[in-house]
């Protein structure tokens, strides 16, 4: 049994050998920087010369071309896209939005869907969820977005189950076969850090522009947590359960179906929840490759500067996300109900029956009262123009303008631009050494070696300066997010009530389509680095706040009580008891903040940046698959470096504290 203590034995954690390595790394970096400052550094040590950079993009282009045309992979993927996948998408599109395809039944009236949502909500979580479910769909209909919302949903109802099934299968395979898991792990890590621009292009080429490519990109994005959670859940099944299964003579299939999967139910359902949330997160981004619906409309609205309507679409997406999130979470908590033998079947299937009855009832009623089937432009309640006016006048308030003007000047001139120039002035090898030193200091030997390998690859990709600028934006945004997020989390953690409302705000900020932040950011700060950092900051602060709250509130009560009894002040308790114990959890939040920042920094290319995102955006024109991939890998490798270092620190720390 591990003992709980905030005293981490320092001697064993930092042996003198480690110190020597660190000093060597830092000294070498300092020597290079000084050499440059005195002008004695040869140019090839400052930046990798052009001739030394391998033609990776061109080689990749040839490979892609070979795989696509000579190997004929495109025929396989096109067959899948135009055959089964398109069939599923067409069917759901017919039912939900009335696209003229088999089975020619739809569109289902909005009132019927809202009624079913209410029943499902009631079944999993009582009246509150019933109201949320019905309310979401009623809002969508009343605001005049029913059709586009259903276009979005018609893809999600196909993509999410497919992601679930594929993820479950791969997860089971990874649990069963060690070699498969070892192979899959790096692929998943890369997938989770690869900028979305990088898989949009292959999705278009291999799976046809439109809902098919949108579905494929969505599945790719949503599948990693499903796989990981499945494997995790299956590994945790307790030996007693397994023995019981074996004793009752289960076959291997029965073991999986009736023993392992039900026992891993909770983890698998958490995976389902993640799949749903990630699918919704992709709604806007996939609009670039033909996903119809809310995302496409949002981009069109932003293109014609209609803030109000964009905002309303954002609200719809948040409501859909929150509804599905809460319902799926309630389903995780809800245990299966068991009935006595002899209960009549209508009693056992009460909820589905009510849902069916309401569905049929509203469908019939909609034939009589068309307003229950569809709400037209004349009836809907969109307040786009009014919201426009409100947003614009708030942004134009003198107090706000004055503050942002000052912030823009201060951050740009005093902080961001000097910081960027400093980073860009560091010679490439020195920069790599510094990153390695950081990874080694935080995570240990293995992350240090990976950092060296990854950043060397980045240096030889030919996009060094842009990679540094990307990193600079990420560091600046995460640093500011830490300054804001951690104090906010600490204050919120003091009371149950505050934590709840701040966590809700976090959920909203996270599911609100990130594109919508870009416009106010520009209106407040103009097209420059401050706007970019600000829009990333909103996103990056969310995990920091969340994990600070979680970390502080899960500190074992006996520890805080001990602190109270020894008469420590609130400040002492926080600094020497709560923080040390919460730090590993907070580090997870910090890690996520960095990952989110790497994700958002690419989107910020739409504001106007000079980093990898800008080049990635340029490759969207569709001819440079190789370059697109190289740029994407650079982002992924940098993100992975930090991910590995911080995760490794978290694990070690947790073990040292006896929390694991």
């Amino acid at each position: 049994m591990a003992t709980l203590s905030t005293e981490v034995p320092d001697a064993s954690a930092k042996p003198s050998g480690q110190l020597r390595v660190l000093t060597t790394l830092l000294a070498a970096a300092a020597a290079l920087i000084l050499a440059k400052a005195f002008g004695v550094l040869p140019e090839w040590l400052n930046r990798i010369p052009e001739w030394a950079i391998p033609p990776t993009a061109q080689v990749l282009d040839v490979i892609f071309d070979f795989v696509q045309n000579d190997l004929g992979l495109i025929y396989v993927t096109r067959f899948i896209a135009e055959g089964p996948l398109e069939f599923l998408l067409d069917t759901s599109a017919n039912l939900l939005e009335g696209k003229r395809r088999w089975p020619f039944l739809g569109p289902i009236p909005w009132s019927a869907i809202a009624a079913v949502a209410a029943v499902v909500g009631y079944a999993v979580g009582g009246w509150r969820l019933a109201a949320l479910g019905a309310g979401t769909f009623i809002w969508t209909a009343l605001i005049g977005q029913w059709k586009i919302a259903m276009q979005t949903m018609s893809v999600i109802v196909v993509a999410a189950p497919l992601a679930f099934l594929l993820g479950l299968t791969l997860g089971v395979a990874a649990w069963k076969y060690g070699w498969f898991e070892r192979m899959l792990k790096p692929v998943l890590s890369v997938l989770q850090t690869l900028p979305f621009f990088t898989y949009l292009l292959p999705a278009v080429i291999f799976f046809k522009v439109g809902p098919t490519a949108g579905a494929v990109a969505t599945i790719t994005f949503a599948i990693p947590p499903m796989i990981l959670m499945t494997t995790l859940g299956l590994k945790k099944v307790s030996p007693e359960v397994i023995e019981a299964g074996q004793m009752s003579g289960c076959t291997r299939w029965q073991m999986l179906r009736h023993v392992y999967l039900p026992a891993a139910r909770t983890e698998i359902l958490v995976g389902v929840n993640q799949v749903i949330m990630l699918c919704l997160a992709m709604v806007v981004l996939t609009a670039f490759i033909g996903m119809p619906g809310l995302g496409a409309k949002l981009l069109a609205m932003m293109g014609s500067f209609k803030l109000g309507r964009s905002f309303e679409i954002g609200v719809t997406i948040v409501l859909l996300a929150v509804t599905l999130d809460r319902m799926s979470k309630a389903w995780v908590v809800k245990q299966p109900v068991h009935f006595d033998r002899g209960t009549p079947w209508w009693k056992r299937h009460q909820m589905p029956l009510i849902a069916l009855a309401l569905f049929a009832g509203f469908t019939l009623l909609a034939q009589l009262f068309p307003i229950l089937a569809e709400i037209g432009r004349k009836q809907h309640l969109s307040q786009g123009k009014e919201i426009d006016v409100v947003i614009k006048s708030v942004l134009a308030l003198d107090a706000i303008k004055g503050t942002t003007e000052w912030l823009r000047w201060f951050l740009n001139v005093k902080v961001l631009i000097p910081f960027r120039n400093t980073l860009l002035a560091i010679p490439t090898p020195a920069f790599i050494l510094l990153v390695v030193a950081f990874a080694y200091w935080v995570g240990g030997r293995k992350p240090g070696i990976y950092a060296a390998v990854f950043f060397t690859i980045v240096a030889f990709s030919g996009w060094w300066d842009r990679s540094v600028i990307t990193l600079y934006t990420v560091i600046s945004a995460v640093a500011l997010a830490t300054l804001i997020g951690i104090p906010l989390g600490v204050i919120a953690a003091r009371s149950e009530h505050w934590s709840k409302s701040i966590l809700l705000a976090c959920d909203t900020a996270q599911t609100f389509p990130s594109f919508i932040y870009l416009i106010p950011a520009i209106m407040l700060f103009g097209v420059n680095d401050v706007a970019v950092v600000f829009s990333i900051l909103i996103f990056a602060a969310v995990p920091l706040i969340r994990y600070t709250i979680i970390g502080l509130s899960t500190v074992p009560p006996e520890m805080t009580e001990a602190a109270d009894m020894s008469g420590s002040t609130r400040r002492q308790k926080l600094m020497s008891v709560q923080f040390p114990l919460a730090l590993p959890t907070m580090a997870v939040g910090f890690n996520q903040a960095i990952m989110f920042a790497f994700f958002m920094v690419i989107i910020a290319a739409f504001i106007g940046t000079q980093d990898l995102g800008q080049e990635l955006q340029r490759t969207l024109a569709g001819t440079e698959l190789g370059k697109n991939f190289v740029l994407g890998m650079n982002v992924s490798l940098m993100a992975l470096t930090f991910d590995m270092a911080i995760s490794s620190w978290t694990q070690k720390r947790k073990r040292a504290l006896g929390l694991d």
């Binding site: 439109g210 069109a300 293109g303 014609s304 500067f305 068309p370 942004l395 739409f606 504001i607 955006q617």
Partner: protein
């Protein structure tokens, strides 16, 4: 609901009957739509025309740069707005790879250049002449640019050469690239409240003309070769020392296979040609009158039968 559907199918059939040839494939003609109103409405109008002729039509939302790859592969049949300036590069790249071709120009011409909203002129009355810019540079200065003026150029992938021009004409301006059209509008929108002078990249035809009246800066007139021959334009040593062509093309592009698969529709497509006022009207129906694009298309088509019918009848032999 069901009845009206039947009726409309019946009228469609009747209309289709008047056009003798019905050899077009019954596969849907897939038309791409992008994220600006005139293109969406125009594409919807063309979709309605095709439907009247008895074709099936479907729309797909795509990125306006990535769309050329899809036209090339035949995933979408055509593209209604190929702007010389903004999409010329992607279009030509796809043209070289093969699979799509030029389906004729619109009557409309496009212009893309440095632009300012009208209130800017109050502060700098020498505009629109470009030589007034240096005297007014301080009006366009921001925190980051010091005493230099700031010009917000279009996204880098539009290849507008704003930086080169500022250098060639010795303008005291820092050129910053916006990341998207939305970023340009946000910049103008933010300046609108206290009528701050701004200089941004803009183009016509465009909804912004209706929202913020403004003018293009009149640079030295474009001469052919201004981008290749330093001798052209006022600065003998520099490229890009001219304004952009004041009348760039607006093209339609078609998939090579369209001609054979939907010959009648293809014939109509080559006849179609919209003018600047027509395009502005389509944009206005959505951007100012707040119609949904599909409704705007119907309204526009009803009001402009005289324009559209000849395009169709020319193809019904």
């Amino acid at each position: 609901m069901k009845l009206s559907h039947l009726l409309s199918t019946a009228t469609l059939a009747a209309v289709a009957g008047t056009f003798a040839i019905a050899e077009d494939s019954s596969d849907p003609i897939v038309i791409p739509i992008h994220n600006w109103s005139s293109q969406i409405v125009m594409s919807s109008v063309v979709g309605l025309i095709f439907e009247e002729m008895g074709n099936n039509v479907e729309f797909v939302t795509t990125d306006s740069q990535a769309v050329y790859e899809s036209v090339r592969l035949g995933d979408v049949a055509l593209e209604m707005e190929v702007w010389e300036g903004a999409f010329g590069a992607s279009y030509r790249a796809a043209l070289e790879k093969g699979g799509l071709h030029d389906a004729g120009d619109h009557d409309a011409v496009t212009r893309e250049d440095w632009w300012y909203p009208m209130w800017t002129k109050d502060a700098c009355p020498g505009l629109p002449d470009w030589e007034a810019l240096n005297d007014c540079a301080h009006l366009f200065a921001t925190a980051e640019t010091g005493d230099k003026g700031r010009y917000l150029d279009g996204p880098v992938d539009w290849l507008k050469h704003g930086k080169e021009r500022a250098e060639a004409l010795d303008l005291n301006f820092t050129v910053i690239n916006a990341g998207s059209a939305a970023a340009l509008w946000a910049e103008i929108g933010a300046a609108e409240a206290d009528k701050k002078p701004v200089l941004v990249f803009n183009w016509t035809p465009n909804f912004a003309e209706a929202v913020w009246p403004g003018e293009f800066v009149e640079f030295p007139v474009w001469e052919d070769g201004c981008d290749k021959d330093p001798a052209k334009g006022p600065n003998p040593d520099a490229l890009y020392d001219c304004g952009n062509p004041a009348s760039g093309y607006l093209k339609k592009a078609a998939w090579d296979g369209m001609k054979d698969k939907w010959p009648t529709a293809y014939c109509v497509l080559t006849n179609i040609s919209f003018t600047n006022p027509q395009i502005a009207e389509m944009a206005k129906l959505v951007d100012t009158d707040e119609l949904e694009p599909e409704e705007a298309a119907e309204e526009w088509l009803d009001a402009n039968r005289a324009v559209v019918d000849p395009w169709m009848s020319a193809c019904s032999t």
